[in-house]
Every structure is written in structure tokens, then in C-alpha cells.
């Protein structure tokens, strides 16, 4: 086994662990946060009983997620009578896989020097360093959008093959909504690409280390505040969550394109939704919030503007970076949930009008202004 391969495996393991944990935890966070927002208690019933005792571990209802998962796994998998069984079976996978794969290109930490971390393995690694990113692709951002495109097909296929009018409607909505907002998303990001001059996500994050004007962190959101807002909006829309949950609007379409799905197939849709929250948050963090960067944190530790330094070992730096990234992602997830429980659903024509008549011109304007500014400054 080559060290490269080993490190990649470790990264993949980490990514999967984080993603699935986020998926599971977010189901609980969503409930609990919604409850707290609306003066309720929220999940508080499911418990684990320590065997042979009467001690019940409730833990604020954390086990609800586990119960959900078990339930989804163990439930009967109803299959509707459909004329396309293949499409029906393929749908959830096409919706789920791309979402998970996107994490491959997102950097979740700085540069890892395993040799420095584990001196005993230093020989094996031979001083090589690795960016903390599963697939350090130079076209990273484009990959994100490419996978997004595949996910659209998953949702549409699922809705179409269910032989259900509600699902069909949901699928049609999903198709048009996702395409519209993906366009907006791409255009908002173009400004950043102009500034950073790259689409490699790791390079973008590195651009955001340091500060501007001495006190502001050099994050994308500082350069491109409008793009940040537009991107987050479009991202939530991509995720098909309230206020953009038209494709699965309960009150209109039962469950939209996955109405006919049950058991774990439905679970995959739900899970992909929650993972996508994390993905959107991670992407936003990477693009606009400086990724794993903290102001004044360098590979050697904190270097404050006054010249004061706070030396840190490589392990500590890596740990701080990873935790920073996770914390940012988590806060953004929470923010998305906040929005989900704050806003009412759009009307369908408002939704598309919002994308094409408001977000798109704004993002183009943003792009033009950015382009002019970049041209003028360079």
C-alpha cells in the first residue's frame, strides 16, 4: 500500500464519517432547533435502556435519529406498480451518490504532514505532505456543479418512474427549479473565480487565509457579500428545502417526487437532503468563509498583527483547522435550519421568477462589477 493511497483512504473514511454523522445529527438538530424556536420541547422520547437496568438514556432525544434510521431500514419496502422498475430503483441512488461524492473535492483542512504528526512513520511518508482533500482536482468547483447536474436526473427519474401524478409534478418542478438555481449558483461563483483566478477549491481556500485591511479576515464574503447571499439562497434552493421545497411540498404534492418511495429508499432521499445541507454549508464555508482558515492562524500557529505569535505544533494546527471547518459548517447548517423554520414556501411562479428575474440579473450585475473591479485593479 502506498502512502498516498493510505492517506486517501483515511480521508475518505473521515469524509464519510463526518457526512453520515452530519446527516444523522442534522435530523435531530432540525427537530430540536425547530422546537426551541417555537417554544416547544422537541424530540424527547426515544431512549436506550442500559441492559438489565431500568436506566434509560434519553439524552435530549438524540436517539430519535437512530430510531428513524432503524425504522427506515426495517420498514417494508413498498413498491408501486410502475412501468419502469429500473428507473424506480435507480432514482434514489442517482440522487444520493452525487451528493456524497461532492465532498471529495472540498478541502476540510490545511496541509497534512503525516511525517511530522507520526514520527515513527516519517520514513514511509518520506516527507511528503498532503492537502486535506480527498481529490485535489484543479477543476474542483466545476466538479461540484457537474455532480449537481447528475443529482437533478436522480430526482426527476424518481418522480417520473413512480407512476404517480404527484411524483411526476414534483419531478417536473425539481427539474426546472434545480436547473434555474444551478445557473444562479454558477454565475455567483464566477465572481469569486475572477478574484481568486482558480477553480481549485484548495487554492481558493488558501487565498482566503490572512486578512484584509489588517482586521478583516480575507474571506470571500468580504470580497463578494452579494454573491455570498445569492449563493446561499441558490444553495438552499438546490437543496429543495423550505422556502424552496416546491418539488416535495407536503400540502400540495404529498411528498413530491419521492411520494412513492418507502423504507430505506425514501431514507436515502431524506439522508441526501440532510447531507446536502452539510454540503451546501461546506461549500459556502469553502468559498466564502475561508474554509478551515481562522484569522491569523498559519501553519506555525497564530500570528497576530501586532507581531505577537502563538506557536502551535503541526498536530494542533491541523486539529484547529479541522475543528474550525466543522464548526463553520455546523453553524451554517443551523442557519439553514433557522431559515427553513422561519420562511413560508414560495409560490411556484414566484420561485422561478425569483431565480430568473431577481437572482440572475443580480448575479450578472455582481459578475460585471467584479470583472470591472478586477480589471481595474490588476
Amino acid at each position: 500500500m502506498s502512502p498516498d493511497f493510505a492517506i486517501t483512504l483515511v480521508y475518505i473514511g473521515y469524509a464519510l464519517a463526518v457526512l453520515l454523522t452530519f446527516g444523522a445529527i442534522l435530523t435531530w438538530v432540525e427537530r430540536k432547533q425547530a422546537a426551541i424556536m417555537s417554544d416547544r420541547i422537541g424530540a424527547n422520547r426515544a431512549y436506550l435502556r442500559i441492559p438489565f437496568t431500568q436506566v434509560k438514556l434519553v439524552w435530549l432525544g438524540l436517539f430519535h435519529g437512530m430510531a428513524d434510521g432503524l425504522k427506515l431500514l426495517l420498514k417494508e419496502d413498498f413498491k408501486p406498480v410502475t412501468y419502469d422498475k429500473l428507473g424506480y430503483a435507480l432514482g434514489p441512488w442517482l440522487a444520493f451518490t452525487p451528493v456524497v461524492l461532492v465532498f471529495a473535492v472540498i478541502p476540510f483542512g490545511g496541509t497534512l504532514d503525516p511525517g511530522a504528526l507520526f514520527p515513527s512513520l516519517a520514513d514511509w511518508f518520506d516527507g511528503r505532505t498532503y492537502p486535506m482533500q480527498i481529490a485535489p482536482l484543479d477543476a474542483g468547483l466545476l466538479v461540484v456543479f457537474a455532480f449537481g447536474g447528475i443529482a437533478i436526473i436522480g430526482a426527476m427519474l424518481a418522480g417520473w418512474s413512480s407512476s404517480n401524478k404527484f411524483s411526476m409534478l414534483g419531478a417536473l418542478r425539481a427539474g426546472s427549479q434545480l436547473i434555474s438555481y444551478e445557473l444562479v449558483m454558477g454565475l455567483t461563483v464566477l465572481g469569486l473565480i475572477l478574484i481568486y483566478g482558480t477553480v481549485d477549491l484548495d487554492a481558493m481556500v488558501r487565498h482566503q487565509s490572512g486578512t484584509v485591511l489588517g482586521f478583516l479576515p480575507a474571506w470571500g464574503i468580504v470580497y463578494q457579500p452579494l454573491a455570498a447571499i445569492l449563493f446561499l439562497t441558490a444553495g438552499i434552493a438546490e437543496n429543495k428545502r423550505i422556502p424552496f421545497d416546491l418539488p416535495e411540498a407536503e400540502s400540495e404534492l404529498i411528498s413530491g417526487y419521492f411520494t412513492e418511495y418507502s423504507a430505506m429508499k425514501q431514507g436515502m432521499f431524506m439522508l441526501s437532503e440532510f447531507i446536502e445541507i452539510a454540503i451546501i454549508a461546506a461549500l459556502f464555508t469553502t468559498l466564502f468563509l475561508g474554509g478551515y482558515n481562522l484569522p491569523w492562524l498559519t501553519d506555525a500557529g497564530f500570528v497576530f498583527p501586532g507581531g505577537a505569535t502563538f506557536e502551535l505544533g503541526h498536530g494542533a494546527v491541523v486539529a484547529i483547522q479541522v475543528v474550525t471547518f466543522l464548526a463553520k459548517v455546523f453553524l451554517l447548517c443551523s442557519f439553514q435550519i433557522l431559515i427553513r423554520w422561519t420562511l413560508p414556501r414560495f409560490r411556484w411562479d414566484q420561485l422561478l421568477g425569483f431565480a430568473w428575474k431577481f437572482l440572475l440579473p443580480l448575479s450578472i450585475a455582481n459578475l460585471v462589477v467584479t470583472a470591472v473591479a478586477v480589471w481595474a485593479l490588476t
Binding site: D138, L142, G149, L157, G175, S176, I179
Partner: protein, 176 residues
């Protein structure tokens, strides 16, 4: 055989299988799925060849845009159409013959390897710069050497958009 070669063979086989399935599948949606799998496989091949930009755009444009549009239309026109069940027209034999003749002719050329001759390649290399398929060099090259083509395609796209709208409007007008 290296991992890359293995993957290459795998993707090639997958692309071929997708192409064959397109002919076999009855329902347009199945055909579309086969085409998508074929396209993704091709993207994989491009990625292995190191042309990441093309690979990504293959997925982004073909799968993410063209095929989504296609699937959308298939869903919209989801009528129980005899054309869905009637798989082939009458021109099976001639078409297969034409395709066979074409592929044999091209295949012969490929197998003789004339086009891959060293002189030819040398001729190509002579007027190329340090070719890199990295995104940044590629983009710079693209926009500096081929900016006219690029702009012309945008004109083409504009024309296409206008034409599409015109077609739709014409249909509407015809309707009433």
C-alpha cells in the same frame, strides 16, 4: 496492467454498452439513461486521459444540461405512444449496412495506424506550445488563442436561443 488502463477498459466497455443499450431499449427514458451512462463513462475516459476540464464539462453540459432537458421532455411527453413500443423502423438492414461500411472503413484506417504516424505527430507538435490540460493554462490558452471561436459560439448560442423562442412562439401562434 495499471489501474488506469483497467479503468480505461472499464469505462470504454461501459460507454459501448450504453451505446448498444440505446439501440435495444424501448422506452425513451431507458434510452436516455443508457446515453447518460455512456456519457459519464466517456467523462471518466477523459479524466483518465488527463483532460479534466473536458471531463467535467462533459458531465456538466451533457448530463447536467442536455440530458436533463431531454429527460424533462420525455417526462412531459409521457404519452402511451406506439412509437415507444415500436422499436425499429423498416430501414434496419440498410442502416446497419451503412454503419458497418463506415465503421469498417474507419476501423481499417485506425488499425493500419496511418494517422498515428510519427511524422504526423511531429508535425502537430511543432506548432503546439507546451500543451497542458490543467484548468488554468487551458483556459488562458482558450481565451487567448481561440477567443474568436469562443465569441462566435456565443453568437451561435444566441441564435439558438432566439430560434428556440421563435419556434415556440410560432407554435403558440399556430395554436391560436
Amino acid at each position: 496492467m495499471s489501474l488506469e488502463t483497467l479503468l480505461l477498459y472499464f469505462f470504454a466497455a461501459a460507454a459501448l454498452a450504453g451505446g448498444v443499450l440505446m439501440l435495444i431499449a424501448r422506452h425513451p427514458m431507458r434510452v436516455a439513461l443508457a446515453l447518460i451512462s455512456s456519457m459519464i463513462s466517456l467523462a471518466g475516459i477523459y479524466a483518465i486521459l488527463g483532460v479534466h476540464v473536458i471531463a467535467v464539462f462533459q458531465v456538466l453540459i451533457y448530463v447536467g444540461a442536455v440530458m436533463v432537458f431531454m429527460v424533462y421532455v420525455i417526462m412531459l411527453l409521457d404519452v402511451r405512444d406506439p412509437a415507444f413500443l415500436e422499436r425499429y423502423g423498416r430501414a434496419v438492414v440498410p442502416s446497419v449496412a451503412v454503419a458497418a461500411v463506415l465503421s469498417v472503413a474507419l476501423g481499417a484506417a485506425v488499425s493500419r495506424g496511418r494517422i498515428m504516424s510519427a511524422d504526423y505527430l511531429a508535425g502537430l507538435h511543432s506548432n503546439s506550445m507546451a500543451a497542458s490540460f490543467e484548468v488554468q493554462p487551458f483556459s488562458v490558452e482558450f481565451l487567448e488563442r481561440y477567443w474568436l471561436h469562443f465569441e462566435l459560439t456565443s453568437v451561435l448560442l444566441l441564435a439558438a436561443v432566439v430560434a428556440a423562442i421563435a419556434v415556440v412562439k410560432a407554435g403558440r401562434r399556430h395554436d391560436g
